[in-house]
């Protein structure tokens, strides 16, 4: 039996989930909790704030005031509590920068074995205009990426 063909059973120690607090990304989180339970992994939960313009003396955020960070903290904590209620360990982080590269970078730092992201399922024009974060993550990531489509319909 040749060794390199065997199934790698080393479990992913860490699963990274990205959330933008939409119901689509909450579905991705549910999937992540399920996977983490089965695989015995920890969950890392990230929200990325994309800065609008970088100035030499600092960063400007689009439609963001001081309260925004607090509300992000709260929303992130609520989701972390959900993960911990499922009996899993969870770390959270707010990242700043371009979403896809920030996520994949942090995944690299953590040594995450899998990234889970939700997709909105934009097609056609809105896809061309708005692009897809999930797609960019897939392209940048060095680890497997699981995309969970937003289930608007019952399959």
């Amino acid at each position: 039996m040749d060794a390199d063909k065997k199934i790698e059973t080393d479990n992913p120690q860490m699963i990274l989930v990205a959330t933008d607090f939409s119901s689509g990304s909450d579905q991705a989180l549910d999937q992540a909790i399920r996977m983490a339970k089965v695989l015995g992994a920890r969950v890392a939960l990230a929200h990325v704030i994309e800065p609008a313009i970088e100035f030499p003396m600092g960063t400007a955020y689009s439609d963001i005031d001081g309260g925004y960070f607090a509300s992000v903290d709260l929303a992130l904590e609520a989701r972390a509590a959900k993960v911990e209620k499922a009996g899993l360990r969870c770390t959270t982080k707010i990242l700043e920068g371009p979403v896809a590269s920030e996520l994949t970078q942090w995944a690299g730092q953590l040594g995450a074995r899998m990234i889970i992201v939700g997709t909105h399922g934009r097609t056609g024009l809105s896809h061309v205009l708005l692009g897809s974060v999930a797609e960019k993550v897939v392209r940048h990531a060095a680890c497997p990426v699981l995309t969970v489509p937003y289930a608007r319909k019952a399959a």
């Binding site: 059973t9 999937q31 797609e135 497997p144 699981l146």
Partner: protein
């Protein structure tokens, strides 16, 4: 079950009241009979018009109260269920809906009027408006409904029309409740549009557009059975899958008649405004089509959060490249330790006829030898210790079509929980030039997709 029955003392209303009583008897509930009085405006041309109007209203109210008392006495005697009465002046549809929420009715029962098309267009129909506006199930009873003797259950076979939208979930739940009280047979009907299903499942070759296709029927029946799950209570359960080319109402009624159902349950239409003109409500048409079968419209229930399915069946696809084969190993790694099924898949890309469901394209088709060779190559990728991990492998070679669409279609056919593909990770230029199967699948798939990067390829 608390039942509110609106009556205007005509033939349809009488049938409705009898049906309501029967339903109450069946479910151990109570009936409230309600009549809505027309508001009477005092005439401005007659001296003392207001006094007269008040008197007319009183007389009408007395008459209605007496008529209601008669009807309720008959119902109490024949069905043996508690019957209360209520009289109120005002606009009928609004009063009915308000009263329903006051007494927290589980269902509103109304008789169908025998109005002609022109009359309905001019006057509208109370029943139709109630169906449209109600947040509670509404049961329309046509005048010709035969309700047997009081002790005889009027509902012995129910047809529930399902579609893939959440809206029909409410209908299903109502049937569950109905059956929990007393056994009845249930027929779940799923209508489908052939072209949509042929595309979704990627079925090729000349296919019949008007007769039910066995493969589609098999797939849809499985999904209906999964959706219904287990029905508690006694009685048979069967699934009917039929082709429909738009005349949904007619097909539903036809099937209900053919199977001798005595109640049709379906999701309520929620169209408003302009779209109601282009898609006339089914309720309207059903009333004309089925003058003997009562129809229950159940509004959509607030969507429960969608279930997260554990990944136990995954489709793993490879084009036999390094990246593809690596992703196969990742698929097995995903299921290692808890077992599952890997649907190992390879797409033999070749152009298909357009549309694929209408013509058979033979150019470049795999012969048996080539197919067997590909299957052998796929089997060679199965890790030797897969069985030890409790993983079963099924091998599929898809002949024809573009890889991305063929894979999504295969995922639908094989009903997998997720797809695992190799790819991802290449620079913007290569990406723009080549695109990628993984990207196309990620974008279009209704199921989760795992993309496994190839470490050999640098970003």
């Amino acid at each position: 079950m608390k039942i509110l029955c609106g009556t205007n003392f005509d033939a349809g209303a009488e049938a409705a009241a009898r049906f309501a009583a029967n339903l109450a008897m069946r479910t151990g509930g109570a009936v409230e009979l309600m009549h809505v009085l027309p508001p009477i405006d005092p005439s401005p041309f007659v001296a003392g018009g207001e006094v007269q109007a008040r008197r007319t209203a009183e007389i009408e109210r007395d008459g209605a109260t007496r008529a209601l008392a008669d009807t309720s006495a008959t119902l109490r005697a024949s069905a043996g269920v508690p019957v209360t009465t209520h009289v109120e002046p005002g606009p009928p549809d609004a009063c009915l809906l308000l009263r329903a929420s006051q007494i927290d009715a589980d269902v509103i029962v109304l008789g169908m009027t025998g109005r002609s098309r022109v009359e309905r267009w001019l006057l509208g129909s109370v029943a139709e408006r109630v169906v449209r506006l109600s947040e509670r199930p509404v049961l329309l009873v046509p005048p010709a409904t035969e309700v047997g003797a009081a002790s005889h259950p009027a509902i012995s076979k129910v047809l529930v029309a399902l579609d893939d939208r959440e809206a029909s979930g409410g209908a299903l739940n109502f049937v569950r409740r109905l059956r929990a009280h007393r056994p009845c047979d249930v027929v779940a009907l799923r209508l489908y549009w052939p072209i949509e299903e042929y595309r979704r499942l990627g079925l090729t070759g000349p296919r019949d557009l008007f007769q039910a296709d066995t493969e589609v029927v098999k797939d849809l029946e499985t999904s209906v059975r999964q959706r219904v799950g287990t029905l508690t209570g006694g009685g048979a359960f069967e699934v009917a899958v039929e082709v429909s080319w738009g005349g949904r109402a007619a097909t539903i009624v036809e099937v209900a008649r053919a199977r001798k159902c005595d109640l049709i349950v379906m999701g309520a239409e929620t169209r408003h405004g302009l779209s109601r003109l282009s898609h006339a409500p089914v309720s309207d048409r059903m009333a004309r089509l089925a003058p003997e079968i009562p129809i229950l419209f159940v509004p959509a229930e607030p969507a429960a959060s969608p279930k997260v399915t554990p990944l136990s069946t995954v489709l793993s696809a490879t084009d036999f490249s390094d990246a593809g084969n690596l992703s196969v190993r990742a698929a097995y790694g995903l299921l290692a330790g808890r077992g599952g099924v890997v649907e190992l898949c390879h797409v033999h890309e070749r152009p298909l006829a357009s549309p694929a469901y209408a013509y058979d394209e033979t150019a470049g088709r795999l012969n048996d030898v080539e197919r067997a060779a590909l299957e052998t190559r796929l089997r060679a990728l199965v890790p030797p210790d897969a069985a030890e991990h409790g993983i079963t492998t099924h091998v599929t070679v898809v002949d024809g079509g573009r890889a991305s669409t063929a894979l999504i279609q295969a995922a639908e056919r094989l009903r997998v929980d997720a797809l695992v593909l190799g790819g991802g990770r290449h620079g913007a230029t290569r990406h723009a030039l080549l695109g990628s199967v993984a990207q196309a699948v990620t974008r279009a798939s209704r199921r989760p997709v795992m993309v496994v990067p190839n470490p050999a390829e640098e970003a």
